[in-house]
């Protein structure tokens, strides 16, 4: 499916709420970028799309997840996987799509060794989901709707590997349910593409229908990119589009769009014409390279799949699926801000992954929703806890939060220890580190390590006297008016008390002592 319309088709008004010239992304000062996105997402079903083979093939020996159906054996027949249909409908609902009353599978005919039947079962004229949208946030604080043209269900192909002049075919992936989501050509910059993909991945993960792992090929993005002058836009015209494949990360998508737009704009600038071709992304050299020209474009001869009766989707079924939809990130973020008074920045980060939001909400439930409390938790999670996750985990996958030994309730306990002045915030950071590693209760760590805050004035005064006695030179300079040395003394006092001193109390006693010394001196 193609996302951007051909050069002759008319533009449709974009429902963008922010199309002020100031925010328009322009190449060479005058070319607008027009991008439509095709996203393929493997569905997290137990079995394949049309047979009972396990769809969980990652790491399995080649061709071990196969049967007569997904091998395309003579006489074998496909039977549609109901769970995959439901996952697609669920996604359609989350993408604000209309769910078709009747959806029809179709055969897409072409020959390739990783396509065992010689046709791919897909959907063509009658897809499951139509006419939806996804809202993305713009840097200027506004938001924009990227319209979804369609979302349909098909089967993945196998994998071909070329080794020493041979081609090896592994059909473990063949027949894995694949959802194709196609946007309208509403994306107007590399950053918008990035924002759209991030948002889409967040949604798919919330729904539990796709892992969002681009590097494993579970999610694949193919932007259709064209450029045009503002005059062309006024005439409702589009430039010639180029499809870019082989993109392995959202960052690559962003870079590829920027590169490709630049390339096309330069061609036009030099009086040339952009050719309708497929390009591949060369990650190493950060550029697009020609894959094949569309002159030899294949005629896929789509026709309705006679082996699978048309899918009737009745309203009660849709309602039952709708009832399984989780609270989606936008709604969650609004709730965090409105009900719990969170700042937008933290609300956004916390809702970017469902597992993070789940962790946060469990912690809030344990800690309480009194004014300021959810924000304080949010600060700890997005600050200290994320820092620890990044340091200890692989990459920056925040979903790891669900796998750490520390439970959300324990984080709430930790904050309560700070609130109750049992430990000071700095100690709490140390305790947190051990909690994340071991899952011990904060109270137990505080006791084991003797980290309880020192609030005994006699003990604090003794430490102060000791510090002042040990630093006569600094004391003299302080008395001479170098009051910024207060910080130095404070640090020394905290150190003397192994960081456990009640910082407020220590500071107060120190100031008093210095003042009395000054007046007495």
């Amino acid at each position: 499916m193609s996302a951007t319309s051909s050069a002759t088709s008319k533009a449709v008004d974009s429902p963008s709420s922010s199309s002020s010239p100031a925010s328009t992304y322009l190449v060479l000062g005058k070319y607008e970028v027009v991008v439509g996105m095709e996203v393929h997402a493997q569905l997290l079903t137990r079995s394949k799309m049309f047979c009972r083979c396990s769809a969980d093939y990652q790491g399995a020996p080649p061709n071990s997840h196969t049967c007569p159906v997904c091998l395309g054996m003579p006489g074998a027949l496909p039977v549609a996987n109901r769970a995959a249909v439901e996952a697609t409908i669920k996604t359609g609902l989350a993408l604000n799509c209309r769910i078709a009353e009747t959806a029809v599978f179709a055969r897409k005919n072409y020959h390739y060794p990783d396509l065992p039947k010689g046709y791919q079962i897909s959907q063509y004229e009658l897809p499951l989901c139509l006419d939806g949208w996804v809202a993305i946030d713009l840097p200027d604080g506004g938001s924009k709707r990227i319209r979804i043209r369609r979302a349909h269900l098909e089967e993945d192909t196998g994998k071909t590997t070329h080794v020493d002049g041979y081609s090896l075919v592994d059909l473990n992936r063949a027949g894995v349910p694949l959802m194709e989501i196609v946007t309208e050509a509403d994306i107007a910059s590399p950053d918008e593409a990035y924002a759209f993909l991030t948002k889409l991945r967040t949604l798919l993960r919330y729904l539990g229908v796709n892992s969002g792992d681009m590097e494993k090929g579970a999610m694949r993005c193919e932007p259709n990119i064209s450029v045009r002058t503002p005059e062309m836009r006024e005439r409702g015209e589009y430039g010639v589009k180029v499809e870019v494949k082989n993109l392995n990360s959202f960052r690559s998508v962003r870079n590829a769009i920027a590169y490709e737009a630049q390339r096309q704009a330069q061609i036009l600038e030099q009086g040339g014409q952009v050719e309708q071709v497929n390009m591949g992304w060369d990650e190493q050299n950060q550029r697009t390279v020609l894959q094949r020209t569309k002159e030899s474009a294949e005629d896929y001869r789509y026709f309705p799949e006679p082996d699978i009766p048309p899918l009737r989707v009745e309203e009660p079924w849709i309602q039952a699926i709708r009832a399984t939809l989780p609270e989606l990130p936008d709604a969650k973020r609004a709730r965090y801000q409105e009900e719990w008074g969170l700042r937008r920045a933290e609300a956004e980060i916390l809702t970017s992954e469902k597992r993070v939001a789940d962790f946060f909400e469990a912690a809030v439930a344990a800690y309480g929703t009194a004014k300021g409390k959810p924000q304080r938790l949010a600060n700890w999670i997005t600050g200290e806890l994320f820092r620890l996750l990044y340091a200890e985990g692989q990459g920056q996958d925040l979903r790891q939060i669900a796998g750490i030994p520390m439970k959300p309730e324990q984080l709430a306990q930790l904050l309560r220890l700070v609130d109750e002045r049992v430990i000071n915030p700095n100690t709490a950071k140390k305790v947190l580190e051990r909690m994340v590693r071991t899952g011990e209760n904060p109270q137990a760590i505080v006791e084991a390590e003797g980290l309880a805050m020192v609030s005994d004035t006699a003990q604090i005064d003794a430490a102060i006297d000791q510090v002042l006695a040990a630093h006569p030179e600094e004391l003299a300079r302080y008395r001479a008016g170098e009051t910024k040395l207060l910080g130095f003394f404070m640090g020394q006092v905290m150190r003397a008390l192994k960081g456990k001193a009640d910082p407020g109390l220590a500071r107060q006693r120190l100031q008093e002592k210095l003042q009395s010394e000054a007046s007495s001196g």
Binding site: P68, L71, G72, M73, P74, G75, A76, L77, P78, V79, A80, R107, N109, H111, P113, P116, K117, G118, Y119, S167, V169, D299, R301, Y302, F303, P306, D307, I308, P309
Partner: protein, 496 residues
């Protein structure tokens, strides 16, 4: 042996006669199977109904059947030797579909219909000849051999299930499975003087039937008489979770429909099926059969199926279109014949160029064309629209009548080679049969006489979707009050 069967050689028994004999202990499955294998031995050189005979396996199954019966087990077809058209996959037994491209293909699984026969105790004798991928009406399109009509060895047995029909007619099997995409069970049954039933679309699972025209293909029994057809249908019909197009409706006992009673049944006679070009003796025999049914108490009504003349062109767009995709998997990579060329494209080109015969290539090209950009609307889509009209013709007709009577084939068996170089003439032999496939309804062919050369003529009875009981009942009543079905072909060699 009971008196009535005393003079019937074992291979010529009907299935129900054999079952009765096995039940009484008059014969064993091993004796029966040995007798049929001996018949095959005796006549197969001349008939060439089988692509391969699995004698050893059949005898082992026969011994097993006898053992089970001795232990008191009863299964609907326990000990009955049957033949299977070679477009149905059989685990461990080479399945070629009459094509060079599947030479050496040993399927890793068994078709549902065949598995059900085996579960019911049937013995599998082997795989019967067929036009390549069931594309043809004479078996002359088989890449391996042309089957001869037991009634006249110079003539074709019909097709594409010609091997199965000839085997049953020659006593080389007590019954057989064929497949019917545009008449491929009914037409050879008519030409070989046996009974052939095409069930309603979805009544029998297609899982393991190597697809030709997926929206048209159905598996059906070919037997000596109507009761046998009902017995086989009882076993193979029913929902299969492996076929999304198989129907969930429960399967009745089809033999219960064989009451012999047709009083008050309304039989429609479509004017469009008695057209110029039909062999006069065929028309006369069919009209006489209808008159006979009327004499038995049925009511005969003239009806109209106005879109009948469009069935052939519609069929020859839809079936090849589906076939063009269905046959794409024969690419020389995973199974069957491979040209072993140096690069991928050459291997596709040479494997398919050498592996497929001319009729298959013709239909792949026809179907590819009909689906191509710029032609789809005019051909494939238009054909689907007309298909709906044909279906509606039958829906209207079945509001007036219970069954429709017509000839099965416009002619009796033609000579080998007579039409093979004239694809259009060959296609016209399907003129009365393709409509039932397009409409998804059921139909049966039952012997109704012989022409002046002693060649069998078939009466076709068509019923609505899932109306198998009605057509079986009428066919049975007709058969039991006539004796066409009792005549056997004079076999080339003295039979056992």
């Amino acid at each position: 042996m009971t008196e009535s069967q005393t003079h019937t050689p074992l291979p010529d028994l009907t299935i129900h006669q054999a079952l009765a004999g096995l039940e009484r202990g008059d014969l064993t499955a091993v004796e029966l199977t040995q007798a049929v294998l001996a018949r095959i031995q005796a006549v197969e050189d001349q008939i060439q109904a089988y692509l391969r005979v699995t004698a050893e396996q059949a005898l082992a199954q026969a011994e097993e059947a006898d053992r089970r019966r001795q232990q008191g087990e009863r299964a609907p077809l326990l000990g009955i030797p049957l033949a299977i058209k070679d477009v149905l996959v059989t685990e461990g037994v080479e399945t070629t579909c009459g094509s060079k491209i599947l030479q050496g293909f040993i399927p890793p699984y068994t078709a549902t219909a065949v598995a059900r026969l085996e579960e019911a105790g049937a013995i599998l004798l082997g795989k019967t000849n067929t036009d390549e991928f069931a594309m043809g009406s004479s078996t002359e399109n088989s890449a391996y051999q042309t089957t001869r009509n037991p009634w006249d060895l110079e003539r074709v047995p019909g097709g594409s299930s010609g091997g199965s029909a000839a085997a049953v007619a020659a006593g080389e099997a007590l019954g057989a499975l064929g497949t019917d995409t545009g008449g491929s069970v009914r037409q050879p049954a008519a030409l070989c003087g046996v009974v052939g039933l095409k069930p309603s679309y979805g009544r029998v699972s297609r899982y393991g039937l190597v697809a030709y025209g997926s929206s048209l293909d159905q598996i059906g029994p070919i037997t000596q008489d109507v009761r046998d057809a009902a017995l086989l249908l009882n076993v193979i019909a029913g929902h299969d979770p492996l076929d999304g197009t198989s129907l969930p409706e429960p399967v009745p006992d089809y033999t219960a429909a064989l009451t012999g009673e047709v009083k008050g049944l309304r039989i429609g006679l479509p004017e469009e099926y008695f057209v110029a070009g039909i062999q006069p003796e065929v028309e006369a025999a069919v009209r006489a059969a209808v008159a006979h049914l009327e004499s038995l108490g049925a009511e005969v009504l003239p009806i109209s199926l106005p879109n009948t003349d469009k069935a052939l062109p519609v069929y020859y767009l839809i079936a090849p279109a589906e076939a063009s995709a269905n046959l794409a998997r024969y690419d020389g990579i995973r199974f069957g014949y491979s040209a072993g060329a140096e690069n991928l494209f050459d291997n596709y080109r040479l494997t398919r160029g050498q592996g497929f015969g001319p009729e298959v290539k013709r239909r792949i090209m026809l179907g590819t064309y009909a689906l191509s950009a710029g032609y789809y609307d005019a051909y494939y889509l238009k054909a689907q629209q007309v298909r709906t009209l044909i279906r509606e013709d039958f829906q209207r007709a079945f509001q007036q009548v219970d069954v429709i009577a017509a000839p099965t084939s416009p002619t009796t068996a033609f000579r080998i080679g007579e039409k093979i170089d004239d694809p259009l003439a060959m296609i016209l032999t399907d003129i009365f049969t393709t409509s039932a496939n397009l409409a998804g309804i059921c139909a049966i062919s039952v012997p109704c006489g012989f022409d002046s050369q002693g060649l069998p003529i078939g009466l076709q009875l068509l019923g609505p979707a899932l109306g198998e009981e009605a057509i079986l009942r009428v066919a049975h009543a007709y058969e039991q009050s006539t004796d066409w079905h009792k005549r056997r072909a004079q076999l080339p060699t003295s039979a056992s």
